[in-house]
Amino acid sequence: MSNATPPNAAHDQLIEGLASDLGPVQPLPSPVRRAAIWLGFVIVAGLLLSLIADLPAFMQRFMASPDMWMAMLGSALTALLAAIAAFQLSLPDSSRAWAWLPMPALLLWITASGLGCLRDYVLPGTHMAPMNETMECLAIIVALSIPFSLLMFAMLREAFSLLPGLTVTIAGLAVAAASATLLNLFHPFDAAVVDLLVHALAVALVVVVCRAYGARLWASPNFSKAA
C-alpha cells in the first residue's frame, strides 16, 4: 500500500487560488474569552435596565420565594454555559458533546420554574399574572433577544463551524436564557402555569428563529475576508 500521492492538477490549481487569496488573520481568542465578552455585554445591558427597574420590589419577591432565585440562577447559568458551548462548537474541530454543557443548568431552570407554579396551589392568595402581563413577558424576552443574538452571531461568524445547526441552536438557548434572566427585573408577579408556558414559548421562539437564520452564518464562502 503506497502512500504516494499522484499529482492532481485540480488540487494544485485550487491551492494556488487559495494562496493568492491569503491575507493575514488574527487567531481567534479562546471560546471562554469570547463567551466572557458576550456575557459582559449582557451584564452591561442588565445594569442599564436595573436603572429603570423597581429594585426594592425585585428584592422583596426574591426574599419571599426561594424558587424564584433558583430559577434565575438556573437561567443565568444556562446563559453562561450555553454561550461557552456555542463558542466552543463554532470551532471546526470541536466535539459535538459540548452541546450537553448547559443541560444541567437548563434542568435546574425548568425544575425551579415548575416549582413556582405549585405555589398557586399551596398559597392561594398569591398574585398571578393576567394574560396581558404575560404577553408583556413574551415581548420583553423577544425584544432583549434581538441585540443579544445580533452580537452573538456577529461573534460566531468570526469562527467556522462544521456543526452549524447545533451551534446556532445552543447559541439561541444562550440568548433566550440571558433574556429570560433579565426579564426578572420586570416581573412583578409569581409564575403561574400560563406564565410559565408563555416563557417557554418565548424561549422556544428565540431558539427556533436563531436556528432558522443562524444556520446560514457560514453558508457563503468568505474568501476575501482576510484580504
Binding site: M1, S2, N3, A4, T5, N8, A10, H11, D12, Q13, L14, I15, E16, G17, L18, A19, S20, D21, L22, G23, P24, V25, Q26, P27, L28, S30, S90, L91, P92, D93, E158, A159, F160, L162, W218, S220, P221, N222, F223, S224, A226
Partner: protein
Amino acid sequence: MNGWLAGDVTAARAVTNNLKGTNSGFQVQMRSKNMLATIDATAFIPYSGGAVESMLASHARTRSRRRMATAEQKPTADDARRSALMAAAQAGDKTAYQTLLRDCVPLIRAIARRQGVSADQVDDVVQEVLLTIHRARQTYDPRRSFTAWLRVIAERRAIDLLRQSGRRGARELHAPIAFENYPDETADPAGGLQHADNTGRVSHALASLPPRQREAVQYLVLNEQSLAEASALTKRSKGSLKVNLHRALKALRGSVEGEDKI
C-alpha cells in the same frame, strides 16, 4: 490461512508468522515516508472465514486505527513543522501556505480512505477540506497540534460526503439498460440536428470572446462554480468576474441573434 482478498504478500506473511507465534501481538505495519503508511489490517481479512480469523482481523483493525490516531495526535517533527507553517500562513506567508496545503493532501487522502470514502470520491473530500482549512484558518490555535485539527476536519468532511452519497444513492437507481430502453416521447430527430447546429454556433461565439470573458463563462456557467470558487481559482475579483460574465452573455446573445437574423 488459505488466501487473502487483497494486500501485499509481505504483510500477509507477517500476519501469518505472527499467528504462528504469540497471539498477543498482531501488528501489521509498513514504514514509509509518511507516518500514515500504517497498513489497515482490514485489507487482509482472510476469505476462508472462521471465528478466530474474524476476531483477529477485528482486533488488528481496532489496534491499527488506534495506532494511526495516536500517531496523528503525537507532537511529531512533521506536526511541529505543519504547525509552524500554519502559523506563518496566518501571518500571511503565501509560500508557507502553499507548502502546507500540498503537504496536507496525502494526509487528507489517507484519512478519507480510512473513513470509507471510495477512491473516486477522495479528491472531492480533499478539495472540501482545503476550502475548509482556508475559511477556518483563523480558528487554528498555533499552540495545538495541527495534524489533530486537520484530522477532525477531514473526518467530518468525509462523513458529510458519505452522507450526501448515501442520500443520493437512496434517491437514484443505476439502471443503464432501463435507461436505454426508455422511449422518449418528445424525441425529435430533426430537433437533434438543430440542437447540434445551435451548440456549434454557441461554441463558435464562445471561442470568439476575449479571454477574460471566456474565462468567466467557463467557470461560472459551464463549470457551475460559485463566484467565490471561481475567484479563488482565477485569481480575479468577484466584481471583475461578474462584469466579464455580463459582457460575455451580452456578446453571446448579440452574436447568436445576429446569426438568426441573417
